[in-house]
């Protein structure tokens, strides 16, 4: 670690299906180079992965998710996912998955060499009625380590299969008395949700 320049980390890891019901099937391998410049958040990431899911299957999975989300009671309003006992209603699972993806962008933007995050819970979900896109307003709670603080964030997420994910967010920091906010657009690569 050269603190004048920043912090470099090289990673090698394997991926598996996010959907635990599908079992722990090994999906692929990735290697990544992560660079924090001057200990600032939003590290630069260079990543290459081998994929073992064909493009056609990925597109099918994406469209399936899209359909599931479109079929939900609209406009959907929900709160506290998971509940205090860690339970997520199966019908709300796609909401959680999507929120998880959106939150991962937020967490990436906030991560520094000293702070990292996990998503704790969706405190509220509101779906906007649209003709085509999937459009959600979430409030989430992030668990910040090592401070142990719980950070509330508002996230606005817009998605359409095949198009880059759009994430707008605003987080409130209770301790440092700062706000973090931003807009993130996913690359075409990373929006294929079936790969998470």
């Amino acid at each position: 670690v050269d603190s004048k320049q920043g912090c470099k980390i090289d990673l090698v890891f394997s991926t598996q299906s996010y959907n635990q019901e599908e079992g722990e099937k090994h999906l692929g391998n990735c290697s990544a180079h992560v660079f924090f410049k001057n200990e600032k958040p939003r590290p630069a990431i260079n990543i290459t992965c081998t994929r073992s899911i064909e493009k056609k299957k990925r597109q099918e999975d994406d469209y399936l998710l899209y359909k599931q989300l479109k079929q939900l009671k609209n406009p959907l309003k929900a709160a506290n996912i998971p509940d205090s006992h860690g339970h997520i209603d199966p019908s709300l699972r796609p909401i959680w998955d999507l929120a998880f993806l959106g939150s991962s962008y937020v967490m990436w933007e906030k991560t520094t060499p000293f702070l990292h995050y996990n998503l704790v819970r969706l405190t509220s979900v509101k779906q906007w009625k649209t003709n085509d896109t999937i459009d959600f307003d979430y409030t989430v709670l992030l668990h910040e380590l090592p401070t142990q603080e719980i950070i509330p964030c508002r996230i606005r997420l817009v998605w359409y299969p095949g198009k880059p994910l759009k994430v707008k967010y605003q987080c409130q920091e209770l301790q440092t008395l700062e706000e973090s906010s931003g807009t993130v657009e996913g690359s075409a690569e990373s929006t294929e949700l079936s790969n998470i």
Binding site: A79, N80, P82, D83, S84, H85, G86, H87, N118, L119, V120, R121, T123, S124, T139, L141, H143, L145, P146, T147, Q148, E149, I150, P152, Q172, L174, Q175, L177, E179
Partner: protein
């Protein structure tokens, strides 16, 4: 329920004077004797500048009983949230308006939200109760756990007894279970769960473990040997006030519920309040912080009770403090990167315990000293234990690694408890075979 965390107290419980004040003239809530917030509102104020902010701070001084800051006045750009009792609404709103403070009503009726949540919980519990009298694969309330303790002790009075070691800040009993097959002041093993109240999997694991101990005695030769020579003590709800709060108001509450003058923030991180490396970098001196170490070592009754008990006993040989989440097994130090003198032995034992754990359900744990494995943390339980002469001092971080975190699904309670048991058993066995 409002999920947004706040620095303020929410409903205050501790001081008897405020209790009587609130109860008089209120409709008494049903069986639970909980406080009533009917008609109370939570207002959000955005102060435009320092001057407006100072009006809010004045409010805190002028009418301390009348406003309950959930998010106190800090900076002009940050919202200030405060709960106003129903009786004070006109008064306070008048004050805000006359000082040009714009506000919105965030919660129109606090009691309605509380009722809704309580109803949901009661519904969940009714389902549990129909399945069996006590479900080991569900999460429980404080009352249910204390009731289970009484039943458990009665059912297994030949081996188990209950000891009251002190009271929490809000005057709840701190109860520990003693497992003993006889003798007098035998070398002992300490296990605590729930020191951080939001880590619900730990209490659940502790309860399952208690039951496992009695059922394994006479069947599992290793456990039988252990219990024939040593005593085991389990503190199931190490932080009862915090735990009650995770059920009533804030599922993600971590600290205890002690309050102090000069701030509306409550709670001390009980795992930063021990007398070893106290106040160091791995803790926070800000009372509003989640890792606030408290005014002084052992200032918190929940910690003092344990210190007094263990010190008074004088013959503890192992201490296991259970947390979640991260899937780690660690030994001292947390406050320093320096290895302890028994580091080699603790490393090997941790390695063995983690291997035994892995064999159950294939779950991977990493292990090492706290400072090297997790982060620097000052004033932690195991550092104190080690410095007090308890060589086998370990701390667990149970499942998972962040996917559900504190909100671990109840379906994972039993698998988690099963694998953790194998690690605990390994540590206890080693302690038995290496007297000192």
């Amino acid at each position: 329920m409002q999920g947004t965390p706040r620095q303020g107290l929410g409903p205050r419980l501790p001081h008897m004077g405020k209790w009587t004040l609130l109860f008089c003239g209120c409709i008494l809530a049903a069986a639970w004797g909980q406080m009533n917030f009917t008609g109370d509102q939570v207002l959000r104020i955005l102060a435009k500048d320092e001057k407006q902010l100072s009006f809010l701070r004045d409010l805190e001084i002028l009418k301390p009983q009348k406003v309950d800051f959930w998010r106190g006045p800090a900076r002009p750009s940050l919202p200030v949230d405060m709960r106003i009792p129903f009786a004070e609404l006109d008064d306070i709103k008048g004050y805000l308006e006359s000082h040009g403070l714009a506000y919105t009503v965030m919660i129109k009726n606090v009691q309605v939200l509380l009722d809704a949540e309580r109803e949901a919980m009661a519904k969940a519990r009714r389902l549990e109760r129909s399945a069996s009298s006590f479900s080991y694969s569900s999460y429980h309330t404080l009352e249910e756990i204390y009731s289970w303790i009484d039943n458990f002790v009665t059912e297994h009075s030949d081996i188990v007894s209950k000891i009251h070691i002190g009271n929490s800040f809000e005057n709840r009993s701190i109860l520990i279970l003693k497992f003993s097959t006889g003798g007098s002041n035998r070398p002992a093993i300490w296990i605590d769960t729930g020191i951080h109240s939001r880590e619900w999997i730990t209490h659940a694991t502790g309860i399952w473990t208690a039951r496992k101990i009695v059922s394994a005695y006479g069947k599992d030769s290793i456990l039988t040997d252990i219990l024939n020579t040593m005593d085991i003590f389990i503190d199931l709800v190490t932080n009862p006030d915090g735990f009650a709060f995770t059920h009533s108001m804030n599922r993600l509450w971590r600290k205890n519920k002690s309050s102090r003058p000069g701030t509306s923030c409550t709670g001390v991180d009980l795992n930063r309040n021990w007398k070893s490396g106290f106040g160091g970098n791995g803790s926070n001196s800000n009372p509003c912080s989640e890792t606030y170490h408290g005014p002084s070592p052992q200032s918190e009754p929940e910690v003092a009770a344990i210190v007094d008990f263990i010190t008074g006993h004088g013959n503890f040989k192992a201490l296991i403090s259970i947390h979640s989440y991260s899937q780690m097994l660690m030994y001292p130090y947390g406050h320093s990167m320096e290895p302890v003198s028994s580091q080699k032995e603790l490393y090997r034992l941790a390695k063995k315990a983690v291997k035994a754990l892995y064999k159950v359900h294939g779950i991977n744990y990493i292990f090492g000293s706290i400072s090297n494995t997790l982060y620097v943390a000052s004033g932690v339980t195991v550092d104190w234990a080690y410095d007090s002469g308890i060589k086998y001092a370990f701390t667990f971080e149970l499942r998972d690694t962040g996917r559900y975190g504190f909100l671990l699904p109840a379906t994972q309670i039993i698998p988690t408890a099963q694998e953790t048991w194998m690690a605990i058993r390994t540590i206890m066995q080693h302690t038995l075979n290496h007297p000192y």
